[in-house]
């Protein structure tokens, strides 16, 4: 659902920086647009982005599922409980500005989620790390981004193991809020302390393999970039700046 989906679309073959720039432009642009029509044009653009990646169906479905609770809350918070003037649709009395606001806010979130799901689906973490290494991004940044994702499943597993072990020792998960709060200690402390105890060994292992070397790391399989893609990234930046410029100009005038 969420994550890399292998494929051969133009987005898959594009340099990871380009797909991320597109998603970033959608994110930043969403907050610059304030009218329902503008926001929904952006949603359409995000959908086109997803189609270019060959992931429109899956991304749209996931985006809808993820934004459903938000839409529901928006409807209640702004549609039903919004300010006057109101209009009646069937048995419901809806606030007109509230519904407009709900459309803008909901559209924003839908566009952002769609944009990022597409970027995630078409960028393999490995390719992104190689792209960053080829660009000379310092080891620290690639390390934090990529290795945290690798470390997570093991830590989750350990958390589950600690949960089981403590339950065998008689820890009860139910009861009053205070009792459950007290159960937090025996569950969280071993997890954190165990991870801290491994730090020295991890640092030694990394150091021994040259992670602290000042040399520029060799990228073994860098994704190809092109002038056209670089131009696209610059153009996106210009678009976003223009959108914010227009927004603030409208606010002034």
């Amino acid at each position: 659902m969420i994550g890399y989906v292998p494929g051969t679309s133009p987005l898959h073959r594009a340099h990871p920086y380009t797909t991320l720039a597109l998603a970033g432009a959608v994110l930043l642009g969403a907050f610059a647009l304030t009218r329902p029509l503008e926001v929904w044009l952006l949603v359409a653009a995000a959908a086109a982005f997803a189609a270019a990646g060959g992931v429109l169906r899956s991304s749209a479905r996931t985006a809808l599922l993820l934004s459903l609770p938000i839409w529901a809350l928006l409807f209640v918070l702004h549609g039903l409980l919004g300010a006057d003037p109101r209009t009646t649709v069937g048995p419901l009395s809806l606030s007109v500005p509230g519904m407009a606001r709900a459309l803008v806010l909901g559209g924003r979130i839908t566009a952002i989620v769609l944009g990022f799901l597409t970027a995630l689906a078409t960028t393999s973490p490995h390719r992104l790390v190689e792209a960053m290494t080829a660009r000379g991004v310092p080891f620290g940044r690639t390390f934090l981004l990529a290795s945290t994702l690798t470390v997570l499943p093991r830590m989750r597993e350990r958390a589950a193991q600690i949960l089981e072990a403590q339950q065998c020792r008689g820890l009860r998960l139910g009861g009053s809020v205070l009792a459950r709060l007290r159960a937090l200690g025996p569950l969280a402390l071993p997890l954190v302390l165990g991870a801290l105890a491994e730090v020295d060994e991890q640092v030694l292992a990394l150091d021994a393999r040259g992670a602290a070397s000042a040399a520029r790391r060799t990228a073994l399989d860098p994704p190809p970039d092109s002038r056209a893609q670089r131009l696209v990234r610059v153009a996106l930046l210009v678009l976003v700046v223009a959108a914010y410029g227009w927004k603030f100009w409208k606010m002034r005038g």
């Binding site: 973490p125 490995h126 790390v129 080891f139 690639t142 390390f143 990529a146 290795s147 945290t148 994702l149 690798t150 470390v151 499943p153 093991r154 491994e198 020295d200 060994e201 991890q202 640092v203 030694l204 292992a205 990394l206 150091d207 021994a208 393999r209 040259g210 992670a211 070397s213 040399a215 520029r216 790391r217 060799t218 990228a219 073994l220």
Partner: protein, 253 residues
């Protein structure tokens, strides 16, 4: 033949520790040998490895006294737990092994050659495209050793490398050590596994309370345990089992 590492009356204390972890230790490491360091838990075997390879106090802090000369260009280190030694950045075994040379900025072909050579030595070529997190403990530990060897260290230190491995995997790991030493490296292994150690050691050192208690030929240092004396008395041929489980295994046969 000059020693790769020379320690003269070296002492070492970890930060915040009340006692010294090592006292008055004098030791030399030469190419082509497999030195086994043994002792009870807390006797200082792991610390000796870190001090001999230069990782203590540089990476772990602490205070070093005495004379230490490391002529080796580079030292590698392998620990007991395979999973904590993965970089987390690499999606394939080949990338994991290539990480070391790539970190030093070696040209692409040199990196690939170094990893190919290391994989051949540890007989893990068939695992090249696999994901590290999917390997068994034994396979992963061999990958970790290969990753350390890819940097062509002159000294390879292994701290209880078979602790978490099943017997076949442990045997496979120890069997590789003499060949590594024969290629011109100094191999030093800290381990409580006296039987396997005796099979591969060219020299042995026993630590007690941070000091060297005995050192010399493996037979002299690692022997003298009751099971081995019993086995000799019973007329078993060498190598004599050094601990009770090994004795039981031999007697059954």
């Amino acid at each position: 033949m000059t020693a790769l590492v020379a320690l003269e009356r070296v002492g070492f204390t970890y930060p915040g520790a009340a006692r010294a972890a090592l006292s008055d230790v004098s030791l030399e490491l030469a190419a082509g040998e497999v030195l086994v360091v043994t002792g009870e838990t807390g006797a200082g075997a792991s610390t000796l490895l870190l001090v001999a390879t230069g990782f203590a106090p540089r990476v772990v802090g602490g205070r070093l006294t005495g004379g230490r000369r490391i002529a080796a260009r580079r030292c590698g280190v392998v620990f007991a737990r395979p999973w904590t030694q993965l970089t987390g950045l690499c999606s394939t075994v080949q990338d994991e092994i290539a990480f070391g040379p790539a970190s030093y900025g070696l040209p692409r072909q040199a990196v690939l050659d170094a990893s190919a050579r290391a994989m051949r030595e540890l007989r893990v070529e068939h695992l090249a495209g696999r994901e590290p997190s999917q390997l068994s403990g034994g396979e992963l530990q061999r990958v970790v050793v290969a990753a350390a060897l890819a940097l062509d260290p002159e000294v390879l230190a292994l701290d209880d490398p078979a602790a978490e491995l099943d017997p076949e995997a442990a045997d496979a790991l120890y069997d590789v050590l003499p060949a590594i030493a024969a290629s011109g490296k100094a191999v030093v292994v800290a381990t409580p596994d006296l039987e396997r150690a005796a099979r591969v050691a060219t020299r042995a050192v026993k630590l007690e309370g941070g000091r060297i208690a005995t050192s010399g030929a493996p037979a002299a240092v690692l022997e003298g345990t009751e099971p081995s004396l019993l086995a000799r008395a019973a007329g078993c041929p060498p190598p004599w089992p050094l601990d009770v489980p090994a004795l039981v295994g031999r007697v059954r046969r």
